[in-house]
Symmetry: C2
Subunit: 349 residues, 2 copies
């Protein structure tokens, strides 16, 4: 295939009448090589179009200088920001990143992990799939002391660090906000509660209710896949309820937006008849009418910190204390979908 032979350090050595060892050292900035020879080597390398053979180098050094990234999906702004944050950080530290998506299944997540393992990644950054139950598929890494760090969607383990936001608190705040606006009968639409982010958001919702002396009826918490289509089905389900909720907190923006639209289509006025809140501050939350109250958190920063934590750990190899958690800040963004005092109580009085 590649008709033209690759230039190796031997070619440079021959041309310069020095040893390959010196060339290797020169190229890698080894301190004990004189500046003059270093310069000569680099010039020659450039001239001949030399490129370092990463395989030979990695084989010899027994490490890849690569970190693996596994995420559920790449299709959100949020994830793209995270990836950008990771890429920036790892490349600044002289590492490469290899990225893969689990498409929300534990099976593909495990498969991706095997690939990463075989490619000898130095560390792993993971945001777990929707149905990932435990860290068993990451055990080969842990056994070999290859650090695995979770971000956003974490799998709890004593052996892994995690970077998250305080989903419980964020949910508590957004629910309290709806309550402050006058909602008494609230509803929560969440994702698979195996997933920490959805479990915690649900718990925050519940706590806000109980702290405000509102009773929690289990029928008012619905688990869904939070897709666009699910939002439409949910609207239907909501309208069929005995008592229509006054405020709805959905665990993501996409589903909140489609649900809201469907309800509007069926004659529900928002925020007139019902208040709405989402989660993520996705661009969609600024497009949907009314604009959606939501929780903002910065993906880029999360990616940066996840990568920095991993690389920091990789550098001082003796850091026993891997198991730390970083919690990033979030912000409640109040928009039109909840920005009215809820007044259906007039009907009752």
């Amino acid at each position: 295939m590649n008709s033209i032979k690759d230039i190796t350090i031997y070619d440079i050595a021959a041309r310069l009448h020095i040893s390959p060892a010196t060339v290797s050292r020169g190229l890698n900035g080894h301190p004990s090589i004189s500046l003059k020879t270093k310069r000569k080597i680099k010039e020659c390398a450039k001239e001949l179009g030399y490129r370092s053979n990463a395989f030979a180098s990695n084989l010899r050094k027994k490490c890849s200088n690569t970190i693996g990234v596994i995420v559920p999906r790449l299709n959100s702004n949020f994830m793209s920001d995270i990836i950008a944050g990771i890429e920036k950080t790892v490349s600044e530290a002289g590492y490469n990143a290899i990225i893969s998506q689990s498409l929300e299944t534990e099976k593909k997540e495990a498969l991706n992990a095997v690939t990463m393992y075989n490619n000898m990644v130095d560390g792993l950054l993971v945001s777990a799939a929707y149905d990932s139950k435990n860290i068993s598929h990451f055990e080969p890494f842990l056994k070999k002391n290859i650090p695995v760090i979770f971000f956003d969607r974490v799998l709890t383990s004593d052996l892994c660090s995690s970077i998250t936001i305080d989903n419980f608190k964020a949910a508590y705040e957004i629910t309290s906000h709806l309550i402050t606006r006058g909602c008494k009968k609230l509803m929560h639409i969440t994702g698979n509660t195996l997933c920490n982010v959805y479990l915690e958001r649900m718990n925050g919702f519940k706590k806000a209710l109980s702290d405000n002396n509102l009773k929690i009826n289990s029928s008012e918490i619905i688990v869904s896949n939070l897709s666009f289509e699910a939002g439409i089905d949910l609207a239907d389900r909501i309208l069929k309820m005995d008592e229509i909720p006054e405020g709805i907190f959905v665990a993501n923006d996409t589903c909140a937006a489609s649900c809201m639209l469907e309800l509007k289509k069926r004659g529900v006025k928002i925020p007139g008849d019902m208040l709405f809140a989402g989660f993520n501050n996705d661009p969609i939350s600024k497009i949907v009418e009314p604009n959606l109250t939501t929780i903002d958190y910065r993906g880029f920063e999360m990616g940066e910190i996840a990568a920095k934590t991993l690389i920091g750990h990789l550098n001082h190899t003796h850091d026993i204390n891997l198991t730390k958690s970083v919690v990033l800040r979030h912000e409640l963004i109040i928009r039109e979908s909840s920005n009215a005092t809820w007044t259906r109580m007039k009907d009752i009085s």
Copy 2:
């Protein structure tokens, strides 16, 4: 770091009293190894927790079994679909993919290309950055006969295949649709016309106008970065025009949606006062009100075909005829934003 020594084929060979070569062949399913020994080898490998060292293998074979993917951004559903299509295809063919984003700059695209080159990818799949002007940064690949295939955002070159849709035709169709609906004064908002997709969409727009005997005023074509924010600024600019357009075709959905919303906020009725069309069939197009007329094309399929083309080329190494183009189908999706006969002409009559 990794305290436990890795198992190699030598360990398996020793344990089984056979040669490492046999182990290697057995593991790789070489035909001339008896089924019995194959099974024995695989069992032993599993038992010892063997993993193949990809570096040694790649070093020896002088190929990486990896294809590189460079895209502008990962943050759209469309791109995520493309990546999923690529990943599925390459993994079925026994390859790996390494993915990176250029963040819309030629500079980072070139940087990513260097990384890919040093990692000896067997081929490259590229969707060009916003400001990528030529293929010079891919020349090292072409010089070494490493195939580079463009998809969606292509850079024209005799040396590279491309997978696209017929942007010209799609734009022609959507513009004709607006004209059929009664618009006489049309406007087009496009991206950097260095980019084939935007250039062709603009040309399709122009052709539809001239075919319908509508004159093209250069002021009615605006180049923008097509971002959410740009849409808002454009709304302002549109309202300041001497003659407000009757129909607007924007080259993507995000910008179309934000522009439409801002116009609505300023009192413009859509589709009452003005028809709108976007491009991409992004989820946002189904959220914005009115729902946006747009062009749909399937990303998953595009990714699949791009990867299949590349891998097909990789397999029969003698395929001289790399330079072929595949054009995928697209579909005009008519929604509410243009689904009304335009009637402002009443004002004039």
